[in-house]
């Protein structure tokens, strides 16, 4: 859930599941229209049209939770929680020390 949309709470079937299982990212097929914008944006090409033209996330363990797909999905069909930062050691250390620290490493 990010500030941009709270589909994981409003989606009746998936909201509960999302919080109990540790699912990194999910596309709600009831909302997906198959426009393919997520596939055009993901730097690793994870969303693929596998489900009768609707998109699904292949290899979710490779998702780095950058939120590009979620922020740009017009239908708010993507459920995930954004992870800020670049994943570098120094940024991680800073965030763990001070969780509200706004300054970035680079």
């Amino acid at each position: 859930m990010t500030d941009t949309n709270n589909s994981c709470c409003t989606s009746p079937n998936l909201g509960g599941i999302f919080s109990t299982l540790d699912i990194r990212i999910l596309i709600d097929e009831t909302k997906c229209t198959g426009c393919g914008q997520c596939g055009e944006i993901c730097p690793f090409g994870l969303p693929q049209p596998l489900n009768k033209g609707k998109f699904q996330i292949t290899e979710p363990n490779r998702c780095i939770e950058c939120s590009a797909c979620q922020r740009n999905c017009v239908e708010h069909a993507i459920i995930m929680r954004e992870q800020k930062g670049c994943g570098c050691l120094w940024d991680t250390r800073r965030r763990l020390k001070r969780p509200n620290y706004k300054e970035k490493c680079c």
């Binding site: 941009t4 393919g36 596939g39 055009e40 944006i41 993901c42 730097p43 690793f44 090409g45 363990n61 490779r62 998702c63 780095i64 939770e65 950058c66 939120s67 590009a68 797909c69 922020r71 740009n72 999905c73 017009v74 708010h76 992870q83 800020k84 930062g85 670049c86 994943g87 570098c88 050691l89 120094w90 940024d91 991680t92 250390r93 965030r95 763990l96 001070r98 620290y101 706004k102 300054e103 970035k104 490493c105 680079c106």
Partner: protein
């Protein structure tokens, strides 16, 4: 100044101390400039000290501040005299509710450094619109002094920035480009007063109309070189300093080739390296290049932080007057900015933002192809960010220079002076070998990174590279020194170095998930500490052994 704003009651006294009493002189000077019967707007009035003084002299005053606490305090201290025309309002310096052509004076003190360059341009344009013909803008702010005092100022500022980082406050901005905005927008400087060697100045600016038009002009940054030796040096300056510094160019509209109103509009970050690479990659193509203000940070990092998002995009379009250059209704953004820009959240009303967003390729080198073919679905090589060899080389170089700059410069200096102090200058080659080893380890990790793709865990990758590096460096060590003891002495050090540098490299691959690194961090720290202590012990033992 931001820390002071949290407490309106003590703000004035503390601010007076901060500026060594100059703000009082500034206020008096402003009062002298304003005529008795006039209409005045103060932006950023704070506790209303100046607004009150002006109103008591006669003029109609509207005082605006964005801080509710300040306005509240100001209202509580409303002047009790009769016939005082003073109104307080909430608003920001780039969004204030004032009618066009209604004010004789607009006053703003010590607010400019809170604004970023494009915000300053928007502020100037709005101020121009709010002023009557020949109206005046009185701005007091901190500027960079010239001459000798410039160096003093820069040193003080560097020290101040370090203090700010510890206090986790946002820094204020230097107004180095501000003076360039005045004439193009429509202001001429009538008078200037300065204090403290020019670091605090009060400017009296008069509005003038450009070609008799009823609108203020727009500022455009000058052409910026991206070809030739100097540009290569600028690229090296970024790569060889670990790409730590935010090297910002002026945000605004630049031209590639000779674009006209039908040429494509490309958007990018205002990091110097990004700009140079982009312009070189689209050489020969006529296009407008809109550099948003990402505080001198590259596209990927800016989007993952909060420096390349809707706010920066909207502000850039508003400040530069993009619609005057192009009839195109599509902005082409770098794909990697999608982590910050949210298309569904852009204004729906076409008056405020009449553009559609198209996400272009990941790398600017694919732009010529993309612009020509305009694929509805990009081919894989344009939209997948592979950590290819050329990227690994650049990442490796950046990481190496970064790690020297951030960490290893200290032990190197220590070792240098230690060896000199012990009169062991014939052992100075230790330093050379140390530097050589760090470079080799970094090279192996960055160039050979795909070898570790069997796992996503950086701890496991670290162990893998430790073993790999131990083998390679061990062989090198044997060739150079032919000594078992020397090899044993250094082994733990090679292991620690590889393990640590692998984890440190995690931020340079784009495939790393910050949450995974956070989860690994605890265990990593423990292993790292143990290996580091063992290395230091092992090396110290070796040095002592050398003594005997």
């Amino acid at each position: 100044m931001r820390k002071l704003e949290l407490e309106p009651k003590t703000y004035d006294d503390k601010f007076t101390t901060l500026t060594n009493g100059i703000n009082v002189k500034v206020r008096n000077s402003i009062l002298n400039h304003i005529e008795k019967s006039s209409s005045v707007l103060e932006l950023g009035c704070g506790t209303g000290v100046l607004a009150k003084k002006i109103a008591l002299q006669g003029p109609d005053v509207v005082a605006i501040d964005s801080n509710f606490k300040m306005i509240n305090y100001a209202m509580q201290n409303y002047p009790s005299e009769e016939n005082v025309k003073l109104i307080y309002q909430i608003g920001t310096v780039i969004d204030f509710p004032v009618e066009d052509q209604s004010k004789d004076y607009i006053v703003s003190t010590f607010l400019l450094s809170e604004l970023r360059p494009l915000e300053q341009q928007i502020f100037l344009r709005k101020a121009w619109k709010a002023l009557k013909t020949d109206g005046r803008l009185l701005i007091a702010a901190e500027f960079i002094p010239s001459g000798f005092w410039k160096s003093v100022f820069k040193i003080k500022r560097w020290w101040f920035k370090k203090k700010l980082k510890r206090l986790t406050l946002k820094e204020t901005h230097l107004n180095k480009w501000f003076f360039k905005y005045l004439e193009p927008i429509g202001f001429k400087t009538l008078s200037k007063e300065s204090w403290k060697h020019g670091s605090i100045q009060l400017l009296e600016l008069q509005k003038f109309s450009i070609d008799g038009k009823k609108e203020p002009g727009y500022y455009r940054p000058k052409f910026r070189m991206y070809k030739g030796i100097k540009s290569q040096i600028r690229i090296l300056r970024c790569l060889l300093t670990g790409q730590v510094d935010h090297v910002a160019i002026e945000p605004g509209i630049y031209e590639s080739g000779k674009p006209d109103e039908n040429s494509p509009v490309l958007v990018t970050a205002n990091y110097d390296y990004t700009f140079i690479k982009l312009m070189q990659d689209i050489k020969g193509i006529d296009a407008w290049v809109l550099c948003i203000d990402s505080r001198g940070i590259n596209v990927w990092c800016a989007a993952r932080g909060e420096d390349f998002g809707n706010k920066q995009l909207l502000e850039a379009v508003a400040a530069t007057g993009l619609q005057n250059y192009t009839n195109k209704k599509t902005l082409i953004l770098p794909q990697l900015s999608a982590g910050g820009v949210s298309v569904p959240q852009l204004p729906k009303k076409k008056e405020s933002f009449p553009y559609n967003i198209l996400y272009g390729p990941v790398w600017s080198k694919d732009l010529p192809d993309f612009l020509e073919k305009r694929p509805t679905k990009k081919p894989n090589h344009m939209k997948i960010a592979k950590f290819s060899l050329s990227h690994r080389i650049r990442a490796g170089l950046t990481h190496t220079t970064f790690i020297f700059r951030k960490i290893f410069v200290y032990p190197i200096l220590f070792l240098f002076f230690f060896l000199l102090a012990m009169n062991w200058s014939n052992q100075l080659w230790w330093i050379g070998e140390f530097i050589f080893i760090v470079i080799i380890v970094n090279a192996i990790i960055s160039l050979g990174f795909p070898l570790s793709n069997f796992t996503r865990s950086f701890i496991k990758k670290g162990i893998f590279f430790s073993i790999l590096n131990l083998v390679v460096l061990g062989a090198l060590n044997w060739i150079l020194h032919y000594s078992v003891i020397y090899l044993l002495w250094n082994s733990i050090f090679y292991i620690w170095l590889s393990f640590f540098l692998t984890m440190s490299f995690s931020g340079y691959t784009m495939e790393t998930n910050p949450r995974e690194i956070q989860e690994e961090y605890g265990l990593f720290s423990k292993i790292n500490l143990i290996l580091l202590i063992l290395s230091i012990l092992s090396i110290s033992l070796g040095i002592i052994f050398n003594l005997i």
